[in-house]
């Protein structure tokens, strides 16, 4: 774990001490209702580092602290704000998760202005809230922890509401417009973008972000169908080209780029030069959710298209189109009032037109996909303390980072990932 996480550790210690000494409920600071959550995750893999140093021993690889305050005024305007601090592997940050003014004219239409949570599929806006589900990790190829900076929130406005169609059910909607949030240079998302790239990303500007989200509450009790489409345009990144030696370690076929030049030319003419990358992204989700008694069945399909224009020294301007997709089926069961069990099977593909990795040259074909069978158990030890254990049997190495792991050419297809998590929420 990094040394930059003193804040989170201190907050964790304080909250745990407070939490263990009292019965936790929402704190009322005058008219402001305060809620919070703090959690610690420990993970281990039989083969790889994944979200931390999990390949050799158990790593406490994810700490999270959420502090939330809200006040409703007499005129109906609601002010809400939330801080979210986390440590994930070597990264840590304290972020303003949302801060918004909200006013509902009626149930058909309301508006939320400020920093808003980003609605993407069923779990985009609630991806950090593990205490509302039995899983430690949502399907990794869809709601990856390292992607949250781009997908968790945006700055702008949301129009929302619920339209009643009598016997045909009702439709909940959210329409958003704004900009992506600014992220720090060592954010996990920036690291993941640069993971398989010939350049190291050094900064990222915000881009336009617009989303349409709909859910149809069908006349069939408990059945909800819906989808979302989000578009990010003009996301601009600056970077610096890697040296030949650095490039030789990335888990991508691009590692062979320097060999296209006479020996030494890459490091002399390319390495260290500035690069730019402009990114447009469209992501769509389709989902179905069926709740019956203590059971819940969920399935989602998502696809993402990224259109990138890069300018690199010697290579000049070039464009690249990437199309990835993923899907999963999930079931949860409230077995007893305190015990909830869940399982899902998810598949994700880096290139939907090359699901079997046939285009891979040096890196193994299984770098093209992730097939993940996850089983989880969640136990509510008290009203405010939740304990979880989860195991993933994973086929494919699409989600692995090069850092901390052996050379990509030696990676094996099948691996296991275990996680336990404790969460206090009030």
């Amino acid at each position: 774990m990094s040394h930059s996480c003193w804040f989170q550790r201190a907050a964790l210690a304080v909250t745990c001490a407070v939490g263990s000494s009292i019965h936790l409920h929402a704190v009322s600071a005058g008219p402001i209702a305060i809620h919070g959550a703090v959690s610690a995750t420990a993970s281990y893999s039989d083969k790889y580092d994944f979200y931390g140093s999990t390949g050799e021993s158990i790593d406490i690889n994810n700490l999270e602290l959420t502090l939330n305050g809200a006040q409703q005024f007499a005129n109906g305007v609601r002010l809400s704000a939330q801080l979210y601090a986390y440590e994930l592997g070597d990264s840590s940050d304290l972020t303003l998760d949302f801060a918004s003014l909200d006013y509902a004219f009626n149930e058909k239409i309301g508006i939320r202005i400020g920093r808003n949570k980003q609605p993407n599929g069923l779990f985009g806006d609630s991806q950090d809230l593990d205490f509302v589900r039995p899983f430690v990790f949502l399907p990794l190829g869809i709601y990856g922890k390292d992607q949250r900076a781009l997908t968790a929130a945006f700055d702008g406005a949301t129009l929302y509401g619920s339209l009643d169609f009598a016997a045909a059910g009702s439709i909940d909607y959210q329409l958003t417009a704004g900009w992506t949030t600014r992220m720090s240079e060592d954010d996990p998302f920036i690291s993941s973008i640069g993971e398989s790239s010939p350049s190291v990303t050094t900064s990222m500007d915000v881009g336009e972000s617009n989303t349409a989200w709909l859910a149809w509450n069908t006349p069939i009790d408990g059945l909800r169908l819906g989808g979302s489409a989000s578009m990010v345009r003009g996301l601009s990144m600056d970077g610096v080209m890697r040296t030949a030696a650095e490039l030789a370690t990335i888990p991508s076929d691009l590692r062979t780029l320097p060999s296209a030049f006479p020996e030494g030319v890459w490091d002399m003419a390319v390495a260290g030069q500035s690069t730019t990358l402009d990114l447009d992204m469209v992501r769509s989700f389709f989902f179905a959710e069926y709740t019956r008694g203590d059971w819940q069945f969920i399935t989602e399909y998502t696809q993402m298209q990224m259109d990138m224009t890069s300018v690199m020294p010697l290579f000049g301007a070039s464009t690249l189109k990437m199309r990835s997709d993923a899907y999963y089926g999930m079931v949860t069961w409230q077995a007893t009032p305190r015990l909830q069990l869940g399982a899902y099977y998810a598949e994700s593909f880096a290139n939907k037109y090359d699901r079997k990795g046939r285009l891979n040259v040096i890196v193994p074909d299984h770098r093209a996909w992730t097939k993940d069978l996850a089983v989880s158990a969640s136990f509510a030890a008290t009203e405010w303390l939740q304990l979880k254990a989860e195991v993933h049997a994973i086929n494919g190495t699409q989600l692995l980072a090069g850092r901390g792991n052996p050379d990509v050419t030696t990676w094996e297809r099948d691996w296991l990932y275990f996680a336990v998590k404790s969460t206090i929420s009030f």
Partner: protein, 140 residues
């Protein structure tokens, strides 16, 4: 024609039976100053799920029981969720900036006291449990 008439009667009686069943789950109550005297079952569902947040005259202050058979029946009948699922639904709203946590009470006496003293308050107690200090809301 007879078939159509019989079908109409069947739907009518099923709807009437459903309304009667819903009325047996709980007595819905509000602060005496709330102008509304009746709500549809869909309105109650929308209030319980945080979709309907205002009366004609101002914000709704929702009050829930935290445990018990009345709470479980109301959650199941009007929100189509178990009590635990309803609790998680509200946590999700709060931690995504979409709602403010309802007031929760362990006893009906505490809930009645809150509703009687809080303008805009709306809640429920066991059938026949409403007192003169609150307004009973009819469910259509």
């Amino acid at each position: 024609m007879t078939t159509v008439f019989r079908s109409f009667l069947l739907v009518f009686f099923l709807a009437a039976a459903s309304a009667a069943t819903r009325a047996q789950e709980a007595a819905f109550i509000a602060h005496p100053d709330v102008a509304e005297s009746s709500l549809s079952a869909d309105d109650v569902s929308n209030i319980l799920l945080g979709k309907k947040t205002t009366w004609g005259s101002g914000p709704i202050k929702l009050a829930l029981l935290s445990t018990g058979s009345v709470h479980e029946a109301v959650a199941k009948t009007f929100a189509q969720r178990s009590a635990d699922q309803l609790d998680k639904h509200w946590k999700k709203l709060v931690f995504t900036g979409k709602g403010i946590m309802p007031a929760q009470f362990k006893t009906e006496a505490e809930l009645l006291d809150f509703v009687s003293k809080t303008p805009g308050a709306f809640g429920y107690v066991a059938p026949g449990g409403a007192t003169g200090s609150v307004k009973t809301i009819a469910i259509q």
